[in-house]
């Protein structure tokens, strides 16, 4: 009854320098995964490829629904989402940032506002809904990024270093949100982190990237 992801033999290089050199893994539905590795080891690249916003040079990204392959198109891309490390906030209100994903799916305005308000409430930003999102603190910006993702009810949620640039208190809030996503909605979560204890707190399984491949520790 759910979407799963299998990557096989993923290769990617930038300007001739290989970053990923044959990554393979199958992600189960409903679980939380942590991807770890040194800076520049290719974690972000891996997530962008999984989230279908970048293509691998070689290898396959396959999504399955109830074990049958799902065609890679815009419909599939809309069932997963990635919160980028820099978020990529739009120069508009917090609320409009969150309604964005709904509007581009053709959901009507009143419905979009209602759902976006709930998502903002969920991350504790409802009070700031009319503020220009570019003026939010980095902790709030991270939470807004999550609200933008949550509102579209992804089946798989990728989070790229969701707590790397924020303080302890916001880290706690973000971890709590991630935990709720998993508990209440059964979302599959794949996140990158540099924090071992965070990986232990949140994830059932931790993957390590080294020299372009997943290694077991």
């Amino acid at each position: 009854m759910s979407l799963t992801l299998t990557v096989s033999d993923i290769w990617k290089s930038y300007k001739g320098i290989p970053v990923l050199k044959g990554c393979s893994f199958s992600f189960d539905a409903g679980a939380t995964y942590a991807v770890m590795g040194a800076n520049g080891s290719g974690k972000s690249t891996f997530l962008r490829i999984c989230a279908l916003i970048e293509n691998p040079a070689k290898g396959e990204v396959h999504y399955f629904y109830n074990s049958s392959a799902v065609k890679n198109d815009i419909e599939l891309r809309r069932r997963v989402t990635l919160v980028l490390p820099g978020i990529g906030i739009f120069n508009t209100t917090a609320l409009s940032n969150v309604t964005y994903g709904l509007k581009i799916r053709g959901i009507k305005k009143s419905e979009a506002i209602k759902r976006a308000s709930e998502a903002l409430e969920f991350v504790g930003l409802f009070q700031k809904r009319n503020q220009n999102a570019l003026t939010l603190s980095s902790g709030e910006a991270q939470r807004l990024g999550i609200a933008r993702a949550v509102v579209i009810e992804p089946e798989i949620l990728f989070l790229d270093e969701p707590t790397s640039s924020i303080d302890e208190k916001n880290t706690e809030i973000v971890e709590d949100i991630i935990f709720k996503m998993k508990q209440q909605r059964g979302t599959t979560i794949i996140l990158t982190t540099h924090d071992n204890s965070q990986a232990e707190r949140l994830a059932e399984k931790t993957l390590f990237i080294r020299e372009g491949c997943f290694i077991s520790r």
């Binding site: 916003i53 815009i74 891309r77 990635l82 739009f90 120069n91 964005y100 581009i104």
Partner: protein, 231 residues
């Protein structure tokens, strides 16, 4: 001194001739700006969003044309539109239409080039973010253009400032015919030449005021855009 007083009297009495000239100026420049925006915005957006061969060359040419001397535009347009010219049959020379065409040619590279740079200056993460949220390529492009809105508006206003202040091209193709093709700048040139300073001064004051408002507006827009740059 006397002339300045008379100029203000002209302005505040809403002198009919004066108003006609101001109205025509705004109409010609406004139409030119609208045409330049309708043509230039999509081209500028395309240049900013797509990568293709010749793109750099086109941008360099546009940037060169931003500084195009208006008299040169006037000259070429005159040769095209004059009775013996290839477009002479249209009978446009010495008409407001010819002036609109001239100013469109002057405004187009400004709108296009500034629109292009506003778009390329948008952080690539905006496109990535819109894709992760489920945007199609077209929707992502619209998002980028929206993010560039303050820069684009600045470009349009800068172009308006240029065409409002311009005299060389419209004088050549418009001919400065009283009540028909006389606009603010050409009237100032002509009346000053004749030693008739009050009308020239009145128009000069209005032109300066308009220019002040254009720049005020530009400043406000850039202020709003600064939030963007601070992050």
């Amino acid at each position: 001194m006397n002339e300045i007083v008379k100029a203000f009297i002209l302005i505040f009495s809403l002198d009919k001739e004066l108003m006609g000239i101001i109205f025509l100026s705004l109409k010609v420049s406004g139409l030119a700006l609208a045409a330049a925006t309708v043509i230039g915005l999509p081209i500028g957006a395309f240049l900013g969003l797509k990568r293709f061969p010749l793109r750099r060359i086109i941008i360099i040419i546009l940037n060169t044309f931003m500084g195009l001397p208006p008299v040169v535009v006037g000259l070429f347009l005159y040769l095209l539109l004059s009775r013996s010219g290839p477009l002479g049959f249209m009978g446009l020379l010495y008409s407001p239409s010819a002036m609109v065409i001239a100013q469109t040619i002057l405004a187009f590279p400004i709108v296009t080039s500034l629109c292009h740079s506003a778009i390329v200056n948008i952080n690539p993460i905006i496109k990535q973010a819109s894709m992760t949220l489920g945007a199609t390529s077209a929707q992502a492009a619209v998002t980028i253009i929206k993010e560039a809105r303050y820069g684009i508006m600045s470009g349009i206003i800068a172009a308006f400032g240029r065409v409002m202040a311009e005299v060389g091209a419209i004088l050549i193709v418009g001919g400065n015919i009283a009540g028909y093709t006389r606009v603010m700048t050409t009237t100032i040139a002509l009346e000053t030449d004749k030693g008739n300073f009050e009308l020239a001064l009145a128009l000069g004051i209005i032109l300066l005021t308009i220019s002040l408002f254009i720049n005020l507006f530009l400043h406000l827009i850039q202020q709003r855009g600064i939030i963007q740059a601070n992050i």
